[in-house]
C-alpha cells in the first residue's frame, strides 16, 4: 500500500510524532528491508499520545471521508505471511469527513493502553505494535501512515527462584553434578554455577555451556519449532579427573536475549535453555539441556 502511495506521489505529507519523544528510550529495530531504525519504547499501561500532522502538497487539497488513528497489536506468522492477527485494536477519530487545505495537526491520546505482550522479532514470528493513521478517501485509495513503536514489559524479581541442581551421567562412564544458581535470570544477569565431576571414564576434550532459544509457532499439526544457539561458552579445557569442580560464570549481557514468552496469544512461545555439552576426544558430544526462564528486570537506577 505504501508502495502505491510512493509511486503516485501522495498528495500530502503525513507524520506521527510521539509526545515527549526526546526523553523516551529508543531501540534499534531491523526493518523488513534490512535497514535498522530507531523506535521509541513503551510499556504496558502507558499512555501513548502525540500528534498527527497532515500537510498537503502546496496548492492541493485533500478531500476525505474522515481521519482516524488506530493503535494495533499484531502477530504475524511467517508461514502465514500477510495475515495479521490483531490482538489489540484501539481507534480514535481525528476528523470528520471534509477537506484539508493546509497543514493541520491533530493531537491524539490512548490512555493506559494495555499491551500485555512484548514486541518480538523472531525467526518465524513477529509481534509488533503500530500506530496507523488512515485518511479515508472515496475514489482513490486511502492514505495510510504507520508508525512502529516497541513495547517492553518489566517484571519484578521473582520471589521464588530456585537453583537448578542435577546429577546426570552415563553408567560407568561419566557422572556429573551441575548446579546453576537460579532458574530464572534477568537479561543482564550472570549465571553462576559449577560442574562437579563424580566419575570420569571418558577422555573429555572440553566442556561448554550453550544458551539456546526455542521458538515455537502455530499450534497443533501446524507447529513450527526453530532452535538457535545464541551462545557457546567454553567452560573447561582439557580432561578433568574425578573430584574436580569447574566454575561457571556466564554473563548474559553480550547476548541478544529476550524474556521467555509462553504461549503468546496462543500463537507462539519463546523459551530459553542452558545446554551443557561435554565433548570427548572423538568429538562425541554428551549434553544435558535445562530450561531457564528469562525475564526483563526493570533497570535499577545505578545501571545507566
Amino acid at each position: 500500500m505504501n508502495y502505491i502511495i510512493g509511486a503516485f506521489k501522495p498528495p500530502c505529507d503525513t507524520s506521527i510524532t510521539f509526545a515527549e519523544a526526546r526523553g523516551r528510550k529508543q531501540v534499534s529495530v531491523k526493518k523488513d528491508n534490512g535497514k535498522t531504525t530507531m523506535v521509541p519504547v513503551f510499556q504496558s499501561m502507558e499512555t501513548i499520545s502525540g500528534e498527527v500532522s497532515i500537510a498537503p502538497v502546496p496548492g492541493k487539497r485533500i478531500e476525505h471521508t474522515g481521519v482516524k488513528i488506530e493503535l494495533l497489536g499484531q502477530i504475524e506468522l511467517y508461514f502465514d505471511r500477510g495475515n495479521f492477527y490483531d490482538f489489540t485494536s484501539l481507534v480514535r477519530e481525528l476528523e470528520i469527513p471534509g477537506e484539508i487545505y493546509e497543514r493541520k495537526t491533530y493531537p491524539f491520546e490512548f490512555s493506559s493502553v494495555e499491551m500485555p505482550y512484548e514486541s518480538h522479532n523472531g525467526t518465524n514470528v513477529r509481534l509488533r505494535y503500530i500506530l496507523k493513521v488512515t485518511i479515508g478517501r472515496n475514489y482513490v485509495g486511502n492514505i495510510v501512515e504507520y508508525r512502529d513503536f516497541y513495547v517492553r514489559n518489566y517484571s519484578p524479581a521473582p520471589t521464588i527462584n530456585n537453583s537448578i541442581k542435577m546429577e546426570v551421567g552415563i553408567e560407568d562412564c561419566l557422572h556429573i553434578e551441575f548446579e546453576y544458581n537460579k532458574s530464572k535470570y534477568h537479561l543482564n544477569d550472570v549465571i553462576i554455577g559449577k560442574i562437579y565431576f563424580l566419575l570420569v571414564r571418558i577422555k573429555i576434550k572440553n566442556m561448554e555451556l550453550e544458551i539456546r532459544r526455542r521458538e515455537s509457532t502455530g499450534s497443533g499439526s501446524n507447529t513450527f519449532v526453530e532452535t538457535e544457539t545464541l551462545a557457546k561458552f567454553e567452560l573447561m579445557d582439557g580432561a578433568p579427573v574425578r573430584g574436580e569442580s569447574i566454575p561457571v560464570r556466564l554473563f548474559l549481557t553480550p547476548y541478544e536475549l529476550t524474556p521467555t514468552y509462553r504461549n503468546i496469544n496462543n500463537k507462539f512461545s519463546v523459551k530459553y535453555y542452558l545446554n551443557l555439552v561435554l565433548v570427548d576426544e572423538e568429538d562425541r558430544r554428551y549434553f544435558k539441556q535445562q530450561e531457564i526462564t528469562i525475564y526483563r528486570l526493570l533497570d535499577t537506577p545505578q545501571a545507566s
Binding site: 567454553e234 567452560l235 582439557g238 553480550p254
Partner: protein
C-alpha cells in the same frame, strides 16, 4: 621417515605458525591499543591468546610460545591500567567485559591480567580478586595449558599478595588469604603436573617423564613464593603451610613430584623452620611412594641442618630441644620399613647421612653414633655379606666417618656396634676398612692403652690379622699384602701403656691375635711384637726393685716366656733367619736382665735353628756373624755355658763351605775370647789360636785358588787377619807380639810379590792403609806408639 624426526619438524612448524599467529594478532591489538579501541583490543588479544590453545607443542616449545604471548600481555595490562586510570572504563566493568570471551583459555588469561589491574586499583580487596582468579582457573584442566595459565597467575600476583607490610594488606587476617591463595594455586598446579604423567599413550611414558621434569620449576616456584611471603613466620609455617604442602605431596602419589617437592621444601624454607617442624616434615617421608629417592632428599635435609648447626653454634640447644637426632633416627627407620624394595645401598646411605649429621651436631654423643650403627646392623641382619659394591662403599663411608671425626680410634672402639657393621663387609673391603683404621691411628699417633680396647681393635682389623673364611689368597697381590702387614706391624708399636702390668696384658692379647695370622703374616708381625715386648723388658729392667716382688706378674721372665712362644711359632713357619735374629735379640735382653738360663735357652734355640734350618751358605754366614756378635756381648754366662757356646760357634765357623768364609768366621770368633768388660773373658791363648787357625785357612784358600784358577787368590784375607792382629795387639793381649805382626806383614809382602801379575787394587789399598795406620800409631807416641815402635811397616 622416522616418526621422531618427522615429529620434530612438524613441531617446529607448528611453533612457527603459533608465533606467527601471536605476532599477527598482537599487531592488530597494538593498533587497537594505539587508537584506544577497547573492543578491538579485547578481540585481538583473545585471538592472540587462542594460539596458546594448541595441544601440539612439547612443553619446551609451548613455553616459547607462552613467552611471546606473555610479553604482549604486559602491554595489554599497561593499557588496561591506563584505561581505568583515565576513567573511560571502570575496572569492575573491565573485569566483567573480559569474561565475555567465549573460549576459556583466552578468557582466563585476560581475567588474570585485568585482575592484576583490579588489585592495583585497590577497588576491591586483593584477597577477593585473588580468590576469584585462582578459583576460575579451574576451567583449564589440560595439564600443560593449566600449568602455564596458573604460572601466569602466580607471576602477575606475586607482587600483589596481601602480605604483611604489603600495600595490599587487608584486615588482620589477610596474611592467611595470601598464603591460602598461593597454596591453592600450588596444589592445583601440582595436580595438573601429576596428571600429566597419566594422560596419553603408554609408550610415551618416558618422554612424558622427561617433559614433566622440564616443567617442575613452574610448580616449585609456588613454594618459593610462599617462602618469600613476609607473613609466613614459624607459627604460620608450622600450622598451615607445611601441613598443607606435605599433605599434597603425600597424596599426589607421584614419584617425580614427591621427590622434587620434598627437595623443594627443604631448599626454599629456612633451616630454622625445618628444625622446629622436623616431626611434621619427617612424618611425610615414610608415606612417600616406594620408588622415591628418599635418601637423597633426607640426606640433603640432614646436610643442611648440620651446616646450620655448624654455622651458628648458639642454635645447638634447639637441636637438643627438638630431639632432632631421635626424630631423624625414627624417620629413617620408618622410611626403611615403608620402602621394602629399597636397596641396601639406599638404607646405608641414609645411615651415613644420619651419622654425619650426628657427628656434626652432637659430637659429644657417642651413644647416638652407636645407635646409628646399631640401626644399620639391624637393617643388615639376616642378610649375607654385601655383594653390592656401592653398598659396600657406603658402609666404608659409614665406618670411616667416626674415625675422621674423632681422630681417635679409642672412641670408635667404644662403639659396640662398630665391629658388627664391619661383619657385613666382604673380605676385601674389611681389609680396606682395617687399613683405614690403622692409618687413622698412625696419622693421629693414637696410643691404645688397654687390652680391652686392643681386643676390640683386633676384632675390627681381623681381616688383616688372619685368613678369613673362604678367602682366596691366590688372588692377593703380593705388594698389597706386604703393605697391609707392614701396617699391622706398625700398629703393634702404637699399643702402649706405661703401666707394666697392663702392657703385659696388651702383649698377651697381641700375641694371641697375631699368632693366628698363619705363616704368611708372622714374618711381618712377630718382629714388631718381639721388639715391643723387649721394650717392656728394658723398662722393667730400669726399675730393679719391682722385679723381685713375687706378686708382680709382669716380670721379664714372664715376658721371655711369651717371646719364646712367639718366636717358636715364627720358626715353624718356617722363617729361620728371622727367628734366629729374634732369638739373639732376646738372648741379649735376657743377658741384660741377668737371666742366664733364659739367655742360654735362647741361644740354644738359635743354634738349633742354625743347625737344622739354615742350609743356605750365605744365610749361614750372616747367621754365624750374628751369633758371634751377640755371644761376644753376653756377659752372664758361666764358664761352662760360655765354653759350650763358643766352642759350638767356632765349630760352626770352621765348617762353613767356602774357605774365605771359614777364614772370616774363624777370625771373628777370636772376639769371643776377649771382652773388654771387667770380669769378662780374657783368654789371649785362644784368641791367638783362632787367628792362627784363620791364617791357616787363608793359606789353604790361596793354595786352592792356585790349583783351581792357576793364580794365587787375593791377599785380602791376610790383610784382614793382620787387622785383627793389630786390634788385639792394641788391646794388649800378651800372646800377640810385635814379631808375630812383623812376620805377618812380611808374609803378605811375599805373597804379593809372588802374585805380581794379578794385582788387586783394593787389596793394595787396604794393605797400604793398614800400614799407614801402623805408622800413624807410631807417631802418636805414648804407650801405643811405643808398642808399635818395633814393627817395621815400611
Amino acid at each position: 621417515m622416522l616418526p621422531d624426526g618427522g615429529g620434530g619438524d612438524d613441531e617446529e612448524r607448528w611453533l612457527a605458525e603459533g608465533i606467527a599467529g601471536v605476532q599477527q594478532n598482537a599487531f592488530y591489538m597494538h593498533r587497537a591499543l594505539d587508537s584506544n579501541n577497547l573492543k578491538d583490543a579485547l578481540k585481538y588479544s583473545a585471538q592472540m591468546l587462542s594460539e596458546l590453545r594448541t595441544s601440539r607443542l612439547s612443553p619446551h616449545k609451548y613455553y616459547e610460545l607462552y613467552m611471546r604471548a606473555f610479553d604482549e600481555m604486559r602491554k595489554l595490562e599497561m593499557f588496561f591500567r591506563e584505561e581505568t586510570r583515565r576513567g573511560s572504563c571502570s575496572v569492575v566493568d573491565l573485569y566483567e567485559l573480559v569474561q565475555h570471551a567465549g573460549n576459556v583459555l583466552p578468557r582466563l588469561y585476560l581475567l588474570c591480567t585485568v585482575g592484576s589491574v583490579y588489585i592495583k586499583s585497590k577497588e576491591a580487596p586483593a584477597k577477593d580478586v585473588l580468590k576469584d582468579l585462582v578459583e576460575m582457573c579451574r576451567g583449564i584442566q589440560h595439564p600443560l595449558r593449566g600449568l602455564f595459565l596458573r604460572s601466569y597467575l602466580s607471576q602477575i600476583s606475586r607482587d600483589k599478595l596481601p602480605d604483611i607490610g604489603s600495600e595490599y594488606e587487608g584486615d588482620a587476617d589477610s596474611i592467611n588469604d595470601a598464603v591460602e591463595f598461593v597454596l591453592q594455586n600450588f596444589i592445583e598446579m601440582n595436580k595438573l603436573w601429576v596428571r600429566m604423567q597419566h594422560q596419553g599413550p603408554v609408550r610415551e611414558k618416558d618422554k612424558r617423564g622427561k617433559e614433566r621434569n622440564e616443567l617442575r620449576d613452574l610448580v616449585g616456584k609456588n613454594l618459593h613464593v610462599l617462602s618469600q611471603i613476609e607473613g609466613v613466620d614459624l607459627e604460620m609455617y608450622k600450622e598451615t603451610v607445611l601441613p598443607r604442602i606435605s599433605e599434597q605431596v603425600v597424596n599426589c602419589k607421584d614419584d617425580l613430584a614427591q621427590f622434587y617437592l620434598m627437595d623443594c621444601i627443604i631448599q626454599v624454607f629456612p633451616d630454622e623452620y625445618h628444625l622446629q617442624t622436623l616431626e611434621t616434615l619427617l612424618s611425610a617421608f615414610p608415606q612417600l611412594q616406594p620408588n622415591v629417592d628418599i635418601k637423597t632428599v633426607l640426606s640433603q635435609l640432614m646436610d643442611r641442618l648440620s651446616n646450620y648447626a655448624a654455622t651458628s653454634p648458639e642454635v645447638l640447644p634447639e637441636f637438643l630441644q627438638v630431639e632432632a637426632f631421635a626424630k631423624f633416627s625414627n624417620a629413617i627407620g620408618k622410611v626403611i620399613e615403608a620402602q621394602v624394595d629399597m636397596p641396601v645401598v639406599g638404607a646405608v646411605t641414609l645411615y651415613v647421612s644420619l651419622l654425619t649429621f650426628t657427628l656434626r651436631v652432637h659430637p659429644d654423643r657417642l651413644d647416638y653414633v652407636d645407635q646409628v650403627l646399631g640401626a644399620c646392623v639391624k637393617k643388615l641382619s639376616g642378610k649375607a655379606k654385601l655383594e653390592d659394591s656401592r653398598a659396600t662403599k657406603q658402609i666404608v663411608a659409614l665406618l670411616s666417618a667416626p674415625l675422621e671425626k674423632y681422630s681417635n680410634i679409642v672412641t670408635a672402639l667404644e662403639l659396640s656396634n662398630y665391629p658388627r657393621v664391619m661383619d657385613y663387609l666382604d673380605n676385601a673391603t674389611t681389609k680396606v676398612m682395617a687399613l683405614v683404621i690403622i692409618q687413622s691411628i698412625m696419622k693421629n699417633t693414637t696410643c691404645i692403652s688397654t687390652s680391652d680396647k686392643i681386643e676390640a681393635l683386633f676384632d675390627l682389623i681381623k681381616g688383616l690379622i688372619k685368613d678369613m673364611d673362604g678367602a682366596q689368597d691366590d688372588e692377593l697381590d703380593e705388594e698389597d699384602f706386604k703393605e697391609e702387614q707392614n701396617s699391622v706391624a706398625r700398629l703393634i708399636h702404637m699399643l702402649h701403656n706405661d703401666d707394666h702390668e697392663e702392657m703385659l696384658k696388651i702383649l698377651c692379647t697381641v700375641q694371641k691375635h697375631i699368632l693366628q695370622g698363619g705363616p704368611k703374616r708372622l714374618p711381618f708381625t712377630v718382629p714388631s711384637l718381639v721388639f715391643s715386648a723387649l721394650k717392656l723388658v728394658r723398662r722393667l729392667q730400669g726399675q730393679d726393685g719391682d722385679v723381685t716382688g713375687e706378686e708382680v706378674p709382669a716380670t721379664p721372665k714372664k715376658i721371655f716366656q711369651i717371646l719364646h712362644q712367639t718366636i717358636e711359632a715364627l720358626s715353624c713357619v718356617p722363617c729361620p733367619e728371622l727367628s734366629l735374629r729374634l732369638y739373639l735379640q732376646c738372648a741379649e735382653a735376657a743377658n741384660d736382665c741377668d737371666l742366664e738360663p733364659v739367655a742360654y735357652e735362647f741361644f740354644t734355640q738359635a743354634f738349633i735353628l742354625y743347625e737344622e734350618e739354615i742350609a743356605d751358605s750365605k744365610a749361614q754366614i750372616t747367621a754365624l756373624h750374628l751369633i758371634i756378635g751377640t755371644l761376644q756381648r753376653m756377659g752372664i754366662f758361666g764358664v761352662e755355658n760360655r765354653d759350650t757356646l763358643t766352642h759350638k760357634t767356632t765349630g760352626y765357623s770352621a765348617k762353613l763351605l767356602k774357605k774365605p768364609d771359614q777364614c772370616r768366621a774363624v777370625y771373628a770368633c777370636s772376639h769371643l775370647f776377649w771382652t773388654d768388660d771387667q770380669d769378662g773373658i780374657m783368654d789371649g791363648e785362644r784368641v791367638l789360636l783362632c787367628l792362627k787357625r784363620a791364617l791357616r785357612i787363608a793359606n789353604a784358600a790361596q793354595q786352592m785358588a792356585n790349583v783351581s784358577k792357576g793364580s794365587s787368590g787375593s791377599v785380602t784375607l791376610f790383610i784382614e787377619i793382620l787387622n785383627k792382629y793389630l786390634y788385639f795387639f792394641e788391646k794388649g793381649i800378651p800372646q800377640i807380639t810385635n814379631t808375630v805382626i812383623q812376620d805377618l806383614i812380611e808374609l803378605i809382602r811375599t805373597e804379593k810379590q809372588n802374585d805380581s801379575q794379578t794385582s788387586d787394587p783394593s787389596a793394595e789399598a787396604f794393605f797400604a792403609s793398614t800400614l799407614r795406620y801402623i805408622e800413624f800409631q807410631k807417631q802418636k807416641g805414648g804407650s801405643i806408639g811405643e808398642k808399635y815402635e818395633q814393627i817395621k811397616a815400611a
